[in-house]
């Protein structure tokens, strides 16, 4: 697991209060991890804070799973 993936996973566990084993790449924040619309806004904010990036609203809407977040942030880091 990449450093970015580990940090994303940690944030998801903390913010959604879910079991670590549930936080897999394919896990959908709303359908699989019990998040609501406010939770997803807060999650994106936490990613922005942790990785010192700005995630515009239209990009945020495409981040629906743990894997989506990891790949988005990896691309940002590579850019």
């Amino acid at each position: 697991m990449s450093d970015i993936a580990a940090r994303v996973k940690k944030i998801v566990i903390e913010h959604l209060g879910v079991e670590p084993e549930k936080v897999i790449e394919s896990a959908n924040f709303i359908d699989d991890l019990g998040a609501d619309s406010l939770d997803t806004v807060e999650l994106v904010m936490a990613f922005e804070e942790e990785f010192s990036v700005e995630i515009p609203d239209d990009a945020a809407e495409t981040i629906r799973t743990v894997g989506d977040a990891v790949s988005f942030l990896e691309k940002k880091a590579a850019a």
Binding site: G17, L38, V41, E42, M45, E49
Partner: protein, 421 residues
């Protein structure tokens, strides 16, 4: 009018988490006042408060994890956590667990707060200034709103009846209980979960109340002596925090399910001072009228009142004005009356005060005892009324009245009677 009784009690106070531990310590004459340790007080004129004792839950300490998911705790101010905890205690105590649609839609919630999430507003405004609007959490607004105590409680317990909140400063808790009783009397609900919750102990609120010249500043080195209603040396109130919640129920509803009945709520009176934003009217007219209205509604005479839980905040002006209003109300019966201020032990819980003190009034009836007014060494005025200095006083208490008066000139009195069929 339908009769309304009290069937459940819950509280979180500076003397502990839970009704029985708090009440035991009240009767023992213990004080919850301490030096504030969790934020900088060096530049604040008042450096003390009555804070809820946090801990692992043993010895009646308050362990937030026992009452709310840590994920939700982060999103709300403490007044919501306190309110949720006290409401669960009250519902468990009452044994009322609505499960059918009919039961859920006739059970409501009416919990208020004086200043709500002011601590969270303070923190968020710093974030806004330092990091900008994109760092404001989506939970900032819902975690600060006063009616969100009622919201959280309704969601946890599935209560789909009236969902309401009161905001009348230091009269909030009394108004919430009185208004909730009326909702039951009028048939809008069969059961109401009602009371107040407050968490005002932070630098911003302390600075604000200091600026109003409302807080005690002369006893920073002797915190337990600072709250001293009616005493010559009193110089302001001591800030408190916590929640008090009762379960109110229509009498026949309570009887039908064999509920334990603590007391009947027989009177409720409201008035406005129309005088000053922070000072009570000097003639005590507002206090007199709300007590009179409550007694009229109860259909009793002033001489019937055995115990008054005073507003008695320990401010130089307010205590004597209330005392004079009570003397005027009861006339020749003053020498038979006992009145005390439990704020001497737990400080001023603002919007939770009227609810916590209503519960003390109910327990005074249950246990036939008047709780003490601590630190009343030298009364500032002579009165025929027994102010219960220092130690609790066992005595007949069949009818108890609880007074609450708030900034803005808003007054409420609630009257409870020992339940008799």
């Amino acid at each position: 009018m339908r009769r309304v009784v009290v069937t459940g009690l819950g509280m979180v106070t500076p003397l502990g988490c839970g009704v029985e531990p708090t009440w035991k310590r009240i009767l023992e004459g213990r004080s919850g006042a301490r030096r504030i340790e969790n934020f900088e007080v060096g530049d604040l004129a008042s450096k003390i408060a009555c804070q809820v004792p946090r801990g692992d839950g043993s010895d009646a300490t308050f362990n937030a994890d026992q009452w709310m998911d840590p994920r939700d705790q982060r999103r709300v101010d403490d007044f919501i956590v306190f309110g949720v905890a006290a409401a669960r205690q009250a519902l468990e105590d009452s044994g009322w667990k609505p499960t059918t649609y009919e039961e859920q839609t006739t059970t409501g919630v009416l919990i208020g707060s004086g200043i709500g999430g002011i601590g969270g507003i303070y923190d968020a405004s710093i974030t806004l200034a330092e990091k900008g609007p994109r760092r404001i959490s989506p939970f900032f607004i819902p975690g600060r709103l006063i009616n969100l105590v009622s919201g959280y409680v309704s969601i946890e317990h599935g209560l789909k009846g009236p969902n309401h909140a009161v905001v009348t400063a230091c009269s909030t808790g009394a108004h919430a209980i009185g208004d909730a009783a009326r909702l039951i009397a009028f048939g809008d609900a069969e059961v109401m979960v009602a009371g107040g919750a407050e968490s005002p102990i932070n630098r911003l609120s302390m600075a604000g109340f200091v600026a109003c010249r409302a807080l005690s500043t002369n006893f920073n080195d002797e915190p337990t002596r600072a709250s001293r209603p009616y005493d010559k040396a009193r110089d302001g109130f001591v800030m408190g925090e916590g929640a008090g919640i009762v379960v109110l129920e229509e009498l026949e509803h309570a009887k039908a399910r064999g509920a334990k009945i603590y007391a009947e709520i027989i009177g409720y009176g409201l008035s406005g001072d129309a005088y000053h934003i922070t000072s009570p009217s000097e003639d005590g007219d507002g206090a007199f009228r709300c007590m009179s209205a409550a007694l009229k509604r109860a259909g009793i005479s002033p001489a019937d009142v055995d115990y008054i839980n005073a507003h008695g905040t320990s401010t130089p002006l307010g205590d004597e004005i209330e005392l004079k209003a009570v003397e005027r109300l009861v006339g020749n019966a003053a020498s038979e009356l006992v009145m005390s201020s439990t704020k001497s032990a737990i400080g001023h819980l603002l919007g939770a005060a009227g609810a916590v003190e209503s519960i003390f009034s109910i327990l005074a009836i249950r246990d036939q005892v008047a709780p003490p007014t601590l630190n009343l060494d030298n009364p500032s005025v002579e009165t025929p009324i027994d102010l219960v200095a220092h130690t609790a006083r066992p005595r007949k208490v069949d009818i108890a009245l609880s007074n609450s008066f708030g900034f803005g000139g808003t007054n409420a009195s609630v009257v409870f009677r020992r339940y008799a069929a």
